[in-house]
C-alpha cells in the first residue's frame, strides 16, 4: 500500500481536539486539550502523537480531513468580525424582528436573543425585486458607492448582502459586491444568494450575516493551519467536514465558513452511518451523549437525515426558537441539554428536573470531589452502580460515592422524602425519559416508528444510558462501536466529498414547466459537481436530485428524491406519482383533488462512498470471563441486582455477556439491563439484544 495514503481526521471540540490517523485498516487516535488562542497548535501536537504511535512520518500523511466547533463557538460567543449588513430599503430589521413571537409563552421577563448585528450596523439600499425575480426598482450604482464610503469610513471588515427575493434574481446582490470590491479593495463580501439561495428572508439574511460575521476569523485560521502544516513538512490537501455530512475544500470552507457549523456532530452521524452500512442496517437511531448534551439523529439507508434549516446558539434551555436559524444543508439532529454533567433540581410541582444546566468539568459532578454541590447525572449513575468509583476514566479520576449520595439527598431526597437510591433512580429515569421523549418527537416529525430501528451509541455517557433508552423506546438492537470516544474524527475519514446546491423556484404542477426545470437542475448540478471537482479531480461524481414538494396550501414540504432521468426529463405525471408515494408513506393517506407545488430544488453531488466492507457477525461462543461482581440497580425492575463486570478489552469475538452486567473500558462503561445480553463482534462492536 502506498504509505502516502495515510489519512488524518481532526475534530476540534469545545474541550478536546481529537486526532485519528488511519494507516491501512488500523486507527491510531489521541485526545489533546483544545488550544483556543491558536487551535492549530493542538492539531500539530495531536498529529505528532498519533504519528509516533503508528511509527510513520509526517510525510506519509496523504490527506487531512478536519471538522471544528470554532465556527459554532464564534457565533455562540459573539466573537466575530466588525460586520455590516446591506439590505433592501424598508426591511432593515428583518433579523431583529424574527418571527415576531415569543419562544416561551409564560415568561413575562423573557429576553429575545440580540441579532448578530445591532441596528446601526444594518444599512439599506433603494431597490426592489419581486417574487418572480423581476426588477421593480432598479439599483443605482451611485447609491452603492455612497454606502461604500460609509463602510470604508467605519472600517467594517466584512459585509453581508441580503436583498429581498435575491434567491429568485441575484443581479442586485452581485452588483453590490462588484462596486464594493472596486471601491474597498480587500473587504470581504458575502451574498445571501450564494450562501443560502432560499425563500424566507429571516433565515436567509441571518445565514448570510452569520457567514460574513465568522468569515475573517475562519479564513485567517484556515490560512494559518495550512502554513503550520507546511512548516511541519505536510503539503497534502486539507479538507473540511461541513454540516451536511460531506467534505469541502479548504477554499470553499474559507468562502462559506457558515457551512462548518456543527461539523463535529455531523462527523458523529457519518460515523454511525458507516457502521450502519457495514452491518446492513436500513434504519438506525444514532445516540451521542457527552458531558453537557445528547444528540439524536435518524439514519435511513446508511444516510443521515438532512434538513435545510437549523438553529445555533439557543439561549434558553435549548428551546426551539431561542437561537438563530441558519439555512444550509445540514444533518438533522435533535440536541437536548442532557449529559453526564447535567444538574438536577426539584420544581414547585415536586417534579424532578434535569438539565440543561451542567456542572461542566469544573467543578464537575459532586462525585469528582471538586466542590460540586448539586446532584448530576453522573452522581446518579455512580449510586446506581453503573460506574465503578475506582476505575473511572481508566482510573485517572477517583469518584466519591459519599459526595454523590449527599448531593442526591440535598437536591432531591430531602424535598421528596426519598432515600439516596430512589433519588438516583428518579434522576436517572427523568433524564432517560427526556432523551426518549426527544427521540419520539423527532421520529414522529419524520413519520418514523422507532420500533423498527437499531440504536448506535457513542460518546462518553451514551453506553451508560443506551440500554435503558432502548427499553423505553421499544428498540431491540443496540450497537456500541469501538473508538466511540473519538467517533466524530473517525466519521470524517468515512465521509464522501459532497456539496448540495439548492434554490427556491416556486412551481405548481398545474403550471409545470419542463424547460425551466431542466435548465435549473442542470445549473444546480453544474454548481454542485464543480465544488466536488475542486476536491477530487478524478473520482466519479454522483448526483442526487431532490424536489421539496407539498400540497398547495400546506406549509411543510417533503423532500422527494428523483432519479437523474426523471429529474432532467421532467414529466408532470412522474412528479405527482413520486410525491404521492412519499406523502402516503409519511402521513398514511394522500389528499385527493389538491394541486401540488414545488418550492425548493436541490442537487447533491458526491463522490461514491468509501467501499464498505460488510461486518462479519460472530457466532455465540460461550460466556466472556467475569472480572468481578457488583450490585447494579435495574430501572425496569425497580430493584438492585447482582451484576457481572466484564472488561471489554478481554472479550473475544463471539463471547457473550448476559445482563445485568457492566462492560467496562477506559473511555466508558456499557450497562446491560437485566433484559439484555451482549455479543462481542469481530470488528470490536458490542452487539446488544433482548434476551429471548
Amino acid at each position: 500500500m502506498n504509505s502516502r495514503l495515510n489519512r488524518l481526521g481532526v475534530d476540534i471540540g469545545g474541550t478536546f481536539t481529537d486526532v485519528v490517523l488511519e494507516v491501512g485498516d488500523t486507527l491510531f487516535s489521541t485526545k489533546v486539550l483544545t488550544t483556543y488562542a491558536a487551535p492549530e497548535d493542538a492539531i500539530i501536537d495531536g498529529m505528532h502523537q498519533v504519528l509516533l504511535k503508528a511509527g510513520v512520518g509526517a510525510e506519509s500523511v496523504g490527506q487531512i480531513i478536519h471538522g471544528t466547533t470554532l465556527a459554532t463557538n464564534a457565533l455562540i460567543e459573539r466573537r466575530g468580525a466588525k460586520t455590516v449588513l446591506i439590505t433592501t430599503q424598508g426591511f432593515r430589521d428583518v433579523i431583529e424582528m424574527r418571527t415576531e413571537s415569543r419562544f416561551e409563552q409564560y415568561d413575562l421577563n423573557l429576553e429575545l436573543p440580540e441579532p448578530l448585528l445591532p441596528r446601526q450596523r444594518r444599512l439599506t439600499l433603494k431597490e426592489r425585486i419581486n417574487a418572480a425575480g423581476e426588477v421593480l426598482i432598479p439599483l443605482a450604482e451611485a447609491d452603492v458607492e455612497a454606502l461604500a464610503r460609509t463602510i470604508e469610513t467605519a472600517g467594517y471588515e466584512s459585509v453581508a448582502v441580503g436583498l429581498l427575493h435575491s434567491y429568485a434574481n441575484p443581479e442586485h446582490e452581485r452588483l453590490v459586491r462588484e462596486v464594493l470590491q472596486r471601491r474597498i479593495p480587500g473587504v470581504m463580501v458575502s451574498l445571501s444568494s450564494e450562501v443560502s439561495p432560499q425563500m424566507r428572508e429571516y433565515e436567509r439574511f441571518n445565514t448570510v450575516v452569520a457567514n460574513a460575521y465568522i468569515k475573517p476569523l475562519m479564513k485567517s485560521y484556515l490560512g494559518r493551519l495550512e502554513g503550520r502544516l507546511q512548516s511541519e513538512g505536510i503539503d497534502c490537501p486539507v479538507f473540511l467536514m461541513h454540516s451536511g455530512g460531506g467534505i469541502i475544500s479548504l477554499e470553499s470552507a474559507a468562502e462559506f465558513p457558515v457551512r462548518l457549523v456543527e461539523s463535529g456532530p455531523a462527523g458523529g452521524a457519518v460515523f454511525a452511518a458507516n457502521i450502519a452500512a457495514r452491518y446492513g442496517l436500513e434504519k438506525v437511531l444514532s445516540f451521542d451523549m457527552g458531558g453537557t448534551t445528547a444528540k439524536i439523529c435518524l439514519i435511513k439507508n446508511h444516510t443521515p437525515k438532512t434538513s435545510r434549516v437549523f438553529e445555533v446558539a439557543r439561549t434558553y434551555r435549548f428551546k426551539k426558537g431561542s437561537g438563530m436559524p441558519i439555512s444550509i444543508p445540514v444533518i438533522d439532529m435533535v440536541e437536548i441539554g442532557a449529559g453526564g454533567g447535567s444538574l438536577a433540581h426539584v420544581d414547585a410541582l415536586n417534579q424532578i428536573r434535569v438539565g440543561p444546566e451542567s456542572a461542566g468539568s469544573e467543578p464537575g459532578p459532586a462525585c469528582y470531589g471538586r466542590g460540586g454541590e448539586s446532584a448530576a447525572v453522573t452522581d446518579a449513575d455512580l449510586i446506581l452502580g453503573k460506574l465503578d468509583p475506582d476505575n473511572f476514566a481508566g482510573g485517572s479520576i477517583q469518584l466519591h460515592k459519599d459526595a454523590s449520595g449527599d448531593a442526591l439527598t440535598r437536591t432531591i431526597g430531602d424535598v421528596l422524602s426519598m432515600d439516596q437510591q430512589t433519588a438516583a433512580f428518579g434522576l436517572s429515569e427523568v433524564v432517560d425519559e427526556n432523551m426518549a421523549n426527544a427521540a419520539r418527537v423527532h421520529a414522529v416529525e419524520n413519520g418514523e416508528d422507532l420500533a423498527e430501528y437499531t440504536m448506535i451509541a457513542f460518546g462518553g455517557a451514551a453506553p451508560l444510558h443506551a440500554g435503558r433508552l432502548c427499553e423505553k423506546l421499544g428498540i431491540n438492537r443496540l450497537l456500541v462501536p469501538p473508538g466511540a470516544g473519538v467517533g466524530s474524527a473517525i466519521g470524517f475519514l468515512r465521509a464522501p466529498f459532497s456539496f448540495e446546491a439548492n434554490r427556491s423556484v416556486y412551481m405548481r404542477l398545474s403550471d409545470f414547466n419542463p424547460t425551466t426545470i431542466t435548465q435549473l437542475l442542470n445549473e444546480l448540478q453544474h454548481e454542485a459537481t464543480g465544488f466536488v471537482r475542486t476536491c477530487d479531480a478524478n473520482a466519479e461524481i454522483l448526483s442526487e436530485f431532490k424536489a421539496y414538494m407539498r400540497y398547495s396550501g400546506q406549509g411543510w414540504e417533503i423532500p422527494v428524491v428523483l432519479s437523474a432521468e426523471h429529474a432532467l426529463n421532467p414529466d408532470v405525471a412522474v412528479f405527482q406519482q413520486r410525491f404521492e408515494e412519499d406523502y402516503a408513506a409519511l402521513f398514511g393517506r394522500t389528499v385527493d383533488g389538491m394541486d401540488i407545488e414545488i418550492t425548493v430544488w436541490a442537487v447533491n453531488a458526491t463522490t461514491s462512498a468509501h467501499d464498505v466492507e460488510p461486518a462479519e457477525t460472530a457466532q455465540e461462543s460461550g460466556d466472556a470471563s467475569v472480572q468481578s461482581r457488583r450490585s447494579l440497580f435495574d430501572p425496569a425492575l425497580g430493584k438492585e441486582l447482582d451484576a457481572s463486570v466484564v472488561l471489554r478489552n478481554g472479550m473475544q469475538p463471539g463471547q457473550v455477556v448476559t445482563g445485568p452486567a457492566a462492560i467496562s473500558e477506559d473511555e466508558t462503561t456499557i450497562i446491560l439491563p437485566a433484559s439484555r445480553k451482549a455479543v462481542m463482534q469481530p470488528d470490536g462492536c458490542v452487539d446488544i439484544q433482548p434476551i429471548q
Partner: protein
C-alpha cells in the same frame, strides 16, 4: 414502594406532556390553513373519561387554554356517555362550546384500550374560511359569520358522516382546504391516542385514574400555594379601547382568596353591534393566561391548575356575549384582557406585571382582484392574503418591552417573501417604528411600519382588524404612553381601524402599528441605555433630548460612534 410509584408517575406526567406536543406537531405538519401551519394557531390536549384535561400542548394560542379545558365536558353532555364508541370522532365550531368563533374547529376523539374507554384527545385549529361574510368585523350576528357545526359525530365507529362533509363543502370558499384540515385534526388525535396506549401498556395501566390524580393533586397544590402566598385583597382595573364605532370600556375586579382568584368583569361595556364580541370561554382564557404568567408560570395547564382562576362577567357584556352576537374578531377585544387584568393586579402585586402593550395582533386580510376602473391587463388574478403582525409589548419592571413581538398572543408572522408568493401583494415596508415605544426607565417595545400594495393592474379590499388608534397603551409608574395605530392611504386618504375598505388601483395602505408603553419615569433611565437606543435608532435625537434629557454633546458622541460603526 410508594416512592417507586412516585417515580413512575413523574415519568408518565412527562410523557403525557410529550404526547400532546407530538399531537400538536402532527397537526402543523399536515394542516392546510396558513393560520395553523405558519402561525401556530392551534392547540391539543389529553383528557380523562370525565373530560378533565390532564395535559395541553404549549402552542401559539393562549386563547384556547381554558376553552379547551371546558370543551370536552360539552361534548360528553351532547353526545351522551353511552354513545361514546371506539372509532368515533366528534366535531364542532360552536363559539360558546368550542373556542370563541366559527373559525375554530375542534375535534374530540375517545381513546380505547383493549375495548375499554380510557380518555379523550382533543385539538383545535383556526381555519381561514368558514363561509358567510368572510373573516372580518362587519357581521351583525353570528348567522352572517359562516357555517355553524353543532357538536356532533364526524365519524361514527370509524365511518365518516358524508352528509356533514357535503354540507361543509357546499358552504365554504375553500372546501378542499377545510376538509383537509378536519382530517388533519382527526389524524393528530390518532397520533396522540397511539402514544397514550403505548404508555399505558408500558406501565401496565388499565385506566388513567391514578396518573390523573397524581397530576391534578400536584398541580392544584402547587397553584394554590402560589395563590396563598399573595395578599388576600382585591383591586380594580380598567382599560378603554377603540371598539368598532364606539369606545369599549373593559373593567375587572380581581379578588384574591386563599385558594382561588376571582376576576369579575362587572361594569364592562355591553355588546357591540359588530363582530368584535367575546364569548366568556375566550375571556376566561386570556384572563387566566395573564394571571398564570404573573403568578404560576411554570405550572402546566390542566383542569386543576386552571380551576383556581375563576372568571365571571355579566351576560351580554362585550366579554360575555351570548348567542347570536357576532364574534368573528373576538380576538381584538380578547387580546386586551391581559392588560385590563394587569391594571388591577399591579395594585396588589407591585413590580410584577408589564405596562400596557399593543395588545391585539395587527392582522389584516387583503382581497385582491383585477382593477375595475379600467380594463385589467392580462394575467391579473383574484386572491385572498392574510397576514399576522405585531406591535410593541409593554415595558417590564426590569426590562424594556419587546419590539414588534406578539403579547398576549404567541403566534408567528409570515415571511414577506412567502406572502408575496401567495398572491399579487407587495409589502413595501415592514420594519421597526422608531419613537413608538413609550418613554420610561424601561422603554416600551417598538411597533412597526408596514406599507401594503398590490401588483400593477389590481385593486383591493383591505380588511382592517386594528385597535389602539384612539387609545394607545398607557404607561406604569410614570412611564409614557406608546404611540397609537395610524392607517391611511399613501395619498393621505384616511382609513378606519376596523372593517372592509376599498383601495383603488395604484394606491398603497400606510400602516403604523402601536408601540408598548414605558415603565417608570424616563428620568430614571440609565444614560447608557438612552445612548444605545439613539445609536440603534430606536429613538430619534429629538426624543433623546426631550424625553431623556440627553445633551447635545452626548448626541454628537453617539453620531460619531455610528460613523465609526462602533457599539457603545
Amino acid at each position: 414502594m410508594q416512592t417507586m410509584t412516585n417515580v413512575a408517575n413523574q415519568v408518565m406526567w412527562n410523557r403525557l406532556i410529550s404526547v400532546v406536543e407530538e399531537q400538536a406537531q402532527a397537526l402543523v405538519r399536515t394542516a392546510f390553513s396558513t393560520s395553523v401551519r405558519e402561525a401556530g394557531d392551534l392547540s391539543a390536549g389529553v383528557y380523562d373519561t370525565s373530560g378533565q384535561m390532564l395535559a395541553q400542548a404549549v402552542t401559539g394560542t393562549p386563547g384556547h387554554v381554558n376553552a379547551m379545558a371546558d370543551a370536552v365536558a360539552h361534548f360528553i353532555r351532547r353526545i351522551g356517555q353511552d354513545n361514546i364508541l371506539e372509532g368515533d370522532g366528534y366535531i364542532t365550531n360552536d363559539p360558546w362550546e368550542g373556542t370563541g368563533h366559527l373559525h375554530d374547529i375542534t375535534v374530540v376523539s375517545p381513546s380505547f384500550l383493549d375495548g375499554r374507554f380510557v380518555g379523550f384527545f382533543a385539538c383545535t385549529a383556526h381555519i381561514v374560511d368558514i363561509g358567510g361574510r368572510g373573516f372580518g368585523a362587519d357581521a351583525n350576528s353570528v348567522y352572517e359569520e359562516g357555517l355553524y357545526i353543532p357538536i356532533m359525530k364526524f365519524a361514527d365507529k370509524g365511518e365518516v358522516d358524508k352528509t356533514l362533509v357535503n354540507i361543509v363543502r357546499g358552504n365554504v370558499r375553500e372546501p378542499d382546504q377545510l376538509i383537509g384540515d378536519i382530517y388533519a385534526l382527526a389524524t393528530c388525535n390518532e397520533i396522540g391516542h397511539r402514544r397514550l396506549i403505548e404508555m399505558m401498556r408500558e406501565f401496565k395501566l388499565s385506566s388513567l385514574d391514578s396518573i390523573a390524580t397524581f397530576i391534578l393533586d400536584n398541580s392544584r397544590r402547587a397553584t394554590i400555594e402560589k395563590i396563598a402566598a399573595l395578599p388576600a385583597s382585591s383591586a380594580e382595573g380598567e382599560l378603554r379601547i377603540d371598539g368598532y364605532s364606539n369606545p369599549v370600556d373593559l373593567r375587572v375586579k380581581l379578588s384574591i382568596h386563599t385558594d382561588h382568584i376571582e376576576c369579575d368583569f362587572d361594569g364592562t361595556s355591553g355588546l357591540d353591534k359588530k363582530g368584535i364580541n367575546v364569548p366568556l370561554v375566550y375571556t376566561k382564557a386570556y384572563a387566566c393566561y395573564a394571571l398564570k404568567c404573573a403568578i404560576a408560570p411554570e405550572i402546566p395547564n390542566n383542569a386543576a391548575s386552571l380551576e383556581p382562576f375563576r372568571v365571571i362577567a355579566p351576560e351580554n357584556s362585550i366579554v360575555n356575549a351570548l348567542h347570536p352576537a357576532p364574534v368573528a374578531l373576538r380576538h381584538v377585544i380578547g387580546h386586551m384582557i391581559p392588560d385590563t387584568v394587569y391594571n388591577a393586579l399591579d395594585k396588589l402585586l407591585p413590580h410584577t406585571v408589564p405596562a400596557e402593550g399593543a395588545g391585539c395582533l395587527c392582522n389584516f386580510q387583503v382581497s385582491v382582484r383585477p382593477r375595475t376602473d379600467e380594463p385589467a391587463p392580462e394575467g391579473t388574478v383574484r386572491s385572498e392574503v392574510l397576514t399576522f403582525n405585531s406591535g410593541g409589548a409593554g415595558a417590564r419592571p426590569q426590562f424594556d418591552g419587546l419590539n414588534a413581538t406578539a403579547f398576549p398572543s404567541g403566534v408567528m408572522t409570515m415571511p414577506v417573501e412567502a406572502t408575496e408568493n401567495v398572491g399579487p401583494v407587495l409589502i413595501w415596508r415592514k420594519e421597526l417604528r422608531p419613537d413608538s415605544g413609550g418613554a420610561g426607565q424601561y422603554r416600551g417595545g417598538l411597533g412597526q411600519y408596514m406599507e401594503v400594495g398590490v401588483v400593477e393592474g389590481h385593486e383591493f379590499d383591505f380588511q382592517a382588524m386594528f385597535d389602539r388608534v384612539d387609545h394607545p397603551a398607557q404607561g406604569r409608574k410614570g412611564g409614557a404612553a406608546g404611540a397609537a395605530t395610524t392607517i391611511e392611504q399613501d395619498d393621505g386618504t384616511p382609513m378606519k381601524g376596523k372593517g372592509k375598505q376599498f383601495v383603488p388601483h395604484g394606491r398603497k395602505v400606510m400602516l403604523s402599528f402601536p408601540g408598548g408603553a414605558g415603565y417608570g419615569s424616563p428620568a430614571k433611565r440609565d444614560k447608557h441605555s438612552v445612548k444605545r437606543d439613539l445609536l440603534r435608532g430606536y429613538i430619534s435625537a429629538d426624543i433623546a433630548r426631550s424625553a431623556y434629557d440627553l445633551t447635545d454633546a452626548d448626541i454628537r458622541e453617539v453620531n460619531a460612534a455610528i460613523e465609526r460603526g462602533e457599539d457603545i
